[in-house]
């Protein structure tokens, strides 16, 4: 592999923009910055960076990082290319529809940008273990899922080394996280164990809009209520194709469109359109090329700062919005002292002894502290463990389903017991200390 300044004159010129920044001192540099050709050499030949997601942000990130001097890049994405990606995911063409996003994107970058080596992984983030993630200097996320963000966050945090309770800073892998929705976006820099992590700021992610079942069934007012009714109540009942709804099947969408139009007409509710039906059924988030470009660029700039120490990184959260002019705001999101993911504090939960297991599970899903998806709960008493409930494995679900309606007391739990909770939001089991309250209090 060719180095940056090791003889090849055209490459020397090609990267002269970066060399000026990295080989000259400046008044606004990070105090640790030392102007030298070594920095670009490190960036190009040693630094390994992981991009998670090869979608709207991911395509931009790969390009931006490659031009900022990163040459050893891995990218993970489990998705394949769809027609509706083409208005912004610029590494994909019509002929690529159906192919792996990670593979097509990596191939494109490697062909266009000489010397850049992108390694694609057409997989889930959960397919890799600690030894995989440990090889990277920086992780950049361009994801649209909170669950995946939290999982990666938990994974990178689990790589931290504490010696006698003191964090070994060499074990920190910075996470740069970007997100977009329409004309809004955000960028954050996370130094796991040192600055606010994804779980520290769960309240920044608004809970998904849900409509109460009674509104949908009894007092619909909005076109969305009619669509939800068909989706949640009418489809399971009539199940026209005897399959679950597939938001990508035009026949399914057309059926829901027709039925929700009928229901809307019955209640004189205006505004059911095909586009709205699609949006509600697939939970579509609007997206444009420009916002993706901006947010990914800001992420790449931060990656460059972290890898080269040429400037202080963003501390630590920036919001962007170009609905009215261009607005940005940077601030320091604070760590949560008892964060589920990054604090060393044991987690406690309080419940009454006559509380049912299903209520405890509902709490884990709904409370702002946990926001879990499908927690599986095991208890450890007297040296052996017992699964109280697990929904992810069908046979165990069947065996443990009966426990949902039983109270914590009936399940033999007592004050001080440990609950081991496994959830897709984290690669690690969360240990909860149960404080059991007397049912009369």
């Amino acid at each position: 592999m060719m180095g940056s300044g090791d003889g090849s004159d055209n490459l020397h010129h090609r990267w002269s923009h970066l060399r000026k920044i990295l080989e000259r001192p400046g008044p606004f540099c990070h105090p640790d910055f030392e102007a030298s050709p070594e920095t670009l050499n490190f960036l190009m030949n040693s630094c390994k960076i992981l991009v998670i997601g090869a979608g709207g942000l991911g395509c931009e990130l790969l390009k931006d990082l490659a031009y900022m001097g990163f040459r050893n890049i891995h990218v993970i994405d489990m998705d394949t290319i769809e027609l509706s990606n083409l208005n912004r995911q610029f590494l994909f063409r019509h002929k690529d529809i159906g192919k792996s996003k990670a593979e097509v994107a990596a191939n494109f970058i490697n062909t266009r940008i000489q010397g850049c080596h992108v390694v694609p992984h057409f997989s889930k983030i959960q397919d890799f273990d600690e030894s995989f993630y440990r090889q990277f200097h920086i992780v950049v996320c361009g994801l649209d899922s909170i669950v995946a963000r939290r999982w990666i966050n938990g994974m990178i945090i689990s790589l931290l080394n504490y010696e006698n309770g003191v964090l070994d800073t060499c074990s920190i892998i910075p996470i740069i996280d970007g997100g977009t929705e329409g004309f809004k976006g955000n960028v954050r820099v996370i130094l796991p164990g040192m600055t606010a992590c994804i779980d520290c700021t769960l309240d920044l992610f608004p809970p998904q809009i849900t409509y109460p079942l009674c509104t949908i069934a009894n007092t619909p007012r909005l076109p969305e209520h009619c669509i939800e009714y068909v989706k949640v109540i009418q489809w399971p009942k009539e199940n026209p194709w005897s399959v679950p709804i597939d938001g990508d099947d035009p026949q399914h969408i057309s059926w829901i469109y027709e039925k929700s139009s009928e229901r809307a007409a019955q209640f004189s509710i205006p505004g059911v359109t095909y586009r709205l039906v699609q949006g509600v059924v697939k939970n579509i988030i609007p997206a444009v090329a420009s916002t993706n470009a901006v947010v990914a660029a800001a992420c790449a700039t931060e990656a460059f700062k972290l890898a080269t120490s040429c400037c202080l990184p963003l501390n630590n959260y920036m919001v962007f919005n170009d609905l009215e002019g261009v607005y940005t705001y940077a601030y320091e999101a604070e760590r949560k002292e008892d964060c589920l993911a990054c604090s060393q504090v044991p987690q406690k939960i309080e419940f009454k002894a006559d509380c049912k297991l299903e209520e405890l599970i509902a709490h884990l899903c709904e409370s702002a502290q946990f926001r879990m998806r499908s927690p599986g709960i095991t208890t450890q008493t007297g040296g052996h463990s017992r699964t109280l409930y697990m929904s992810t494995v069908a046979s165990i679900e069947q065996q443990t389903r009966g426990n949902l309606r039983r109270t914590l007391q009936e399940l033999g739990l007592s004050d001080g017991d440990q609950l081991l909770v496994a959830d897709p939001t984290s690669p690690n089991t969360v240990v909860l200390q149960l404080k059991l309250l007397n049912s009369t209090t």
Binding site: H13, L18, Y274, V288, V294, V326
Partner: protein, 537 residues
């Protein structure tokens, strides 16, 4: 099993491809985009990044003007160049790779410098929707900006310079009907109820209702009734102070039904009414709308008046006559706790009044079109309806000509107040002007050559001092900025270009679609601190 549903027109390939953006600017915004033609002057990294975010969403056409040949440095920051493009025409090389992005988009190029184009083909710029330039010299920018000002074509001059991004937007006049505000206060008219609303609400007697009905009365009804009661005791006023609002809230709370133990029930609709007290404001004409109605272009229509101003004039007359001091009703009702029947009934009342107002407006527009000898088809009923829905949030921009920034007297006045803040990001605009002067004097960028950085710092400092002196501004608070700019040596960082490119593409789309408020009129991105700032010059 076959689907009985009819084939919807929204299932076309194009609708699928552009689905995620159609949800933002709508089919009409897309149509405007597809009939637009932008011109880019200088296809460097920033230039192609701007075009990328215009081509992907499907702009109609673009033209590149660029007389440069591709250099090795270009390859290091421009995605739309191949490693074997060196030496080729930059316009030709970039356009090929740009066009691959979207087969719906047409593109062409002129491989001449903008100076040559201005010289040889003065009418070249006449028909563009927006013109964008990157890195053009002082002399050209003055000529070009004057020309585009006369042509009334929006012009965006931008730069990506080291960690700094800069854009100056020039537009003579730009009007926006759909600004898409983030939090729109509902237009309910509870202080000035129109007859059908009054009639409907007066016919509802809350006091005789059972709990189930009582808990499903739309909050608008509750708020209206309690406001009436409050107004009787307060000379028909609207509560303004915290105390007044609190006393209205108390009235609402008193209406909540109690259970057998005398404890209030959980009535969400009443909670919504209590919350809405805060947003209760007298129905009037917002000041920015007043300014539009009092604008010269609104009052004195001519045969050349644009549809916006004709509708604004109709609005002015509506407010003075049928509206009795109010804008046409928006006619939308937010969702609220209610049973279907009463919610829909209320919604229909608002909706039909809005339709009536829009009809009056449309008749007035037709009348005005006749008076100024414009075709009656030039403004459709649909146009008027859209206008009526957004009158309270519409937006007018009157910009300034970039050439004026080079008139020392005018510029000094605009700049001085901003420079009083030593931390103002506008210092970078001053520095970039200094770089222009440096290039005129020395033929290179300051710090372009490794062995010239130190002497160039001294020279750039002197260029900047002279400029500040011409503007009668004091010296810069510190030399740090001069050092930093020399460090960049005219280098372009791709991630900075990509950031500015995204922003400027969106500003271009704002001008083309006449939706959303654009930057007014100077934008600076400081990649060092990850901050942006906007200024009006």
């Amino acid at each position: 099993m076959s689907s009985p549903a009819p084939k919807s027109p929204e299932q076309s390939e194009k609708n699928k491809k552009y689905d995620r953006q159609l949800r933002l600017w709508g089919d009409h915004g897309q149509a405007a985009l597809e009939s637009a033609h932008v011109c880019l002057i200088n296809a460097n990294g920033l230039g192609t990044e701007i075009l990328k975010s215009l081509i992907l969403p499907g702009i109609g056409a673009f033209t590149i003007v660029d007389g440069e040949k591709v250099t090795e440095e270009d390859i290091g920051c421009n995605f739309f160049l191949d490693h074997d493009s060196v030496g080729k025409s930059r316009a030709q090389a970039t356009i090929q790779l740009l066009l691959e992005l979207n087969p719906d988009v047409r593109g062409d190029y002129v491989d001449e410098s903008v100076e040559q184009v201005l010289e040889n083909n003065p009418d070249f710029f006449n028909n563009f929707s927006v013109v964008i330039s990157t890195q053009i010299s002082e002399r050209v920018i003055i000529r070009l900006s004057k020309k585009l000002w006369e042509l009334e074509i929006p012009f965006i001059a931008c730069q990506s310079y080291g960690f700094i991004g800069y854009a100056r937007i020039q537009v003579q006049e730009h009007t926006v009907i759909e600004t898409h505000p983030d939090n729109e206060v509902p237009d309910l008219r509870l202080d000035k109820p129109f007859p059908s609303l009054k009639e409907l609400i007066d016919s509802i007697d809350i006091s005789k209702m059972e709990l189930k009905d009582h808990a499903h009365v739309p909050y608008v009804v509750i708020l209206y009734k309690c406001l009436q009661q409050w107004q009787q005791e307060n000379e028909g006023q609207i509560p303004k102070t915290y105390r007044e609002k609190e006393s209205l809230r108390k009235l609402i709370r008193a209406e909540i039904l109690n259970n057998d133990d005398g404890i209030p029930h959980d009535e969400e609709n009443f909670e919504e009414a209590i919350k809405a007290v805060n947003t209760l404001a007298p129905t009037n004409i917002p000041s920015h709308v007043r300014e539009i109605l009092d604008d010269e272009s609104c009052i004195n229509l001519t045969s050349k008046s644009k549809p916006f101003w004709i509708m604004a004039k109709a609005l002015r007359e509506f407010v003075e006559n049928e509206g009795a001091g109010a804008l046409p009703l928006r006619g939308t009702l937010p969702d609220m706790t209610a049973d279907t029947e009463r919610y829909i009934h209320l919604q229909q009342v608002y909706h039909s009044q809005a339709a009536k107002d829009a009809e009056v407006m449309f008749r007035r527009v037709q009348q005005l079109l006749r008076e100024i000898n414009q075709s009656p088809d030039s403004i459709t009923e649909k146009d008027v309806k859209l206008f009526c829905k957004h009158t309270s949030t519409m937006h007018l921009v009157r910009g300034s000509c970039i050439a004026d920034d080079y008139d020392n007297k005018i510029f000094a006045q605009k700049l001085a107040p901003h420079l009083e803040d030593p931390e103002s990001a506008l210092v970078y605009a001053v520095l970039l002007r200094g770089v222009d002067r440096f290039r005129i004097a020395h033929g290179t960028y300051p710090g372009e050559y490794d062995d010239q950085v130190e002497p160039d710092i001294v020279k750039l400092k002197s260029c900047v001092s002279k400029l500040l002196n011409e503007w009668s501004c004091g010296p810069l608070a510190k030399d740090d900025y001069v050092h930093e700019i020399c460090r960049y040596g005219g280098g372009e960082l791709h991630s900075i270009s990509a950031f500015v490119g995204g922003c400027i593409a969106q500003e271009t789309i704002k001008f083309i679609t006449s939706q959303y408020k654009p930057i007014h009129n100077t934008f600076i991105y400081d990649g060092i601190t990850s901050n942006t700032a906007s200024f009006t010059l």
